[in-house]
Amino acid sequence: MNEFVEQFLIECHELIEQATDDLLTLEGRPDDAERLDGAFRAFHTLKGAAGIVDFAAMARALHAAEDALSAVRTGREAVTQDLIGDCLACLDQVVQWLDSMQSDGEIPPDAEAAADGIVQRFSRIPAPAIPEVSPKVGWADALMARHPQAQALVALRYAPDAEAFLRGEDPLARLAGVPDLLAVEIEGVDAWPSLEALDPFSCHLVFLALSASSAQGVRAALGSAGDQVQVLPVNPKGPSRASRLSAEAEGLLEAQLRLLDHGEAEGLAGRIGSAGRVVGNLLRHAGRAEEVGVVDRAVAASQSARTTGALVEVVHRLLSGQPPAAREPVEANAAEPSSTGGTARTLRVDVERIDALVNLTGELLVAKNALGHAVGQAQSGMDVAALATLLKDQHAVLQRLVDELQRSVLNVRVLQMRYVFQRFPRLVREMVLSLGKPAHLVTEGDETEADKVVVESLFEPLLHLLRNALDHGVESPAVRMAAGKPAAATIVLRARRSNDNVIVEVEDDGAGVDVARVRAVASERAVVPLETLEAMSDPEVLDLIFAPGFSTAAQVTQMSGRGVGMDAVRTAVERLGGRVVMESRAGAGATVRLTLPFAIMMSRVLTVEAGGQLFGIPLEAVLETVRMPRSEIRPVGAARAFVLRNRTMPLIDLADALGDTPGPTSADPVNVVVALAGGRLGGLEVDRLGERLDVMLKPMEGLLAGMRGIAGTTLLGDGRVLLVLDLQELLR
């Protein structure tokens, strides 16, 4: 679907919700100018939105409703049940159109005819016969309650405007002409200002009256004052709820039945949803909002069963005047919302964060204008040195603002760890049951924030780590008791922020990792050559757990070790630009620590020059940079190595590795970048070290997507493309 249309749909649904809310409140409180304005604005904005997507029929229908509301605002029309009903019907029609657009992105072909129907509703002469439904308007009910004996048929509220006297009108005389008058009241007299403050030439009185005459008779008597009068039919036996809906409402219900009966599977969900909304609005409009829940449940049941049955039954019951629910309409499990494992497509953002962006935009505008001034100065032949100073200042300002903007934008994209953490307690409980090892999960730092992508990508690696801890780390209860530990293990899932990183740890209080066994397994499976293995320190051996091929199908239990081992965790974490390490305390447990960037969009790179070209190295992989005399580099077979603090590590000539001709060998000391990637340590020989940059890394796309050794590209200030290296590939 067109992005434009998508935005349109989201916006319209929000506006419809707001308009419905305002209309329903307005019906109960016809004097609520704020709600009236709110509804008017919502209709107006909806109309504008319809115009933007060229949906003329929708704009036409909304325009008719907007006109009617505008007449109420200027006092030409009163808020009546009919008017509210018409406006709600208009919204219902719009909802049906939107649902149709949601499914195919096209403007419904029959929209014009439906729009005609809506426009006609608003253009009709006020209906001669007002349907015999009890009014839900507050003042009329209250008036009836104060005059319980009055056998009134209509209640009227007459609010002459302030200029009535100046026009020579006498509202009381008009009221005296109303036939079969039963009671008269004057509203709010007690709250009047003092006599001195009264303007005798303007009318401040609002009259309420009951009459046994018909609505037409009352309107006729009040004559030209008609637009300042509301006349409502009342039930002489006092307000009671009609269990039957009005004829109009029944017509709409029947239309929903036809819609549901359509028979095609396509768009079924949309039809159920839209019919459910119409039925719900009808009930709300009839003052039966408490019954809407039944409709909602029926909609949910229909949606999950993919048949219209439940909803059709409710509609039939409403049409026959029965309460909508005869029995418990849906079984409890059908009502449980299905948990969606997908990624959250919309983001709820704190208003403060948006405000920060708005403020920054303002400051950026100022900076832009200042720059324009500098351009003017330059054009008018300003001295170069002074110009440079000026530009330098402007640059500093811009740099500050852009940094701040970037921070603010990244802040908008953050999610709390809670989003992913909250799914684990239940999963851990299931693992505990299936493995027979009692354990409980403790989560800490749920509120820690990180980029949306980081948080959402953490689910699988963390699930794997938790399984692994429980399966391999935690001992059986008997062993634990013998070791003096509580029978139930504790697994801590912890998140915290550390500068630009987010640290997530999975810590268990199990037996720890048996390094000797890791060595044995590694040599058995030839994960690394035997001689390398023998030279490795314990932490390095521990790191082999994450090496590809370490865990194999031979280890399969129900939980972990399905051939994809911890190397899957490392791959996932490194794809996010993070690192993973394991710490083990023999007999006391193990901790796997994921160090993740706070913001995935931004990477810090170190620029280096090799073979005359500029490259970027992800800063998180760089341990240190050293300069060493050439004499310290030893040839090892065909390769070269050097010793740094008693550790031997391979030295790779970056230009050579990237297929460039190595520069002429000179006697100068060598610049070496010591890097750690994929668990391997190595040195990269470069011609020159550059600067540290914050960049937005763009991954390789299209034909280049499969290119190895390059993590992505970014644009440099002078327009050159900087290739950022994937060190994991180079050090392999």
């Binding site: 002459p160 009535a164 006297f165 006498d170 509202p171 009381l172 005389a173 005296a176 008058l181 009671a183 008269v184 009241e185 004057i186 007299v189 007690d190 009047w192 200002p193 003092s194 006599l195 001195e196 009264l198 005798p200 030439f201 009318c203 401040h204 009185l205």
Partner: protein
Amino acid sequence: MTLRIGGDDAVELIGDCPSEDAEALLRHLCAHPDARVDWRRCESAHTAVVQVLFAGRVRPRGPPASQFLSTYVDPLLMRAGVA
């Protein structure tokens, strides 16, 4: 004369009281807040006049001659005046 002001500052509304009486009545009531008002001979009163009575929380001596005023308005004034 539809608005007669007696020696003890009392006001009498007589016959048909048009809207012009409202201002005079208001001025008098402002000057003499305790003035008594009598509308027993009032056959009709413009809304503006009645409005002044309401604003001044006046309980006029009645009932007025007009059927409509005595049935619907006079009781309201008596109630409002008490409050």
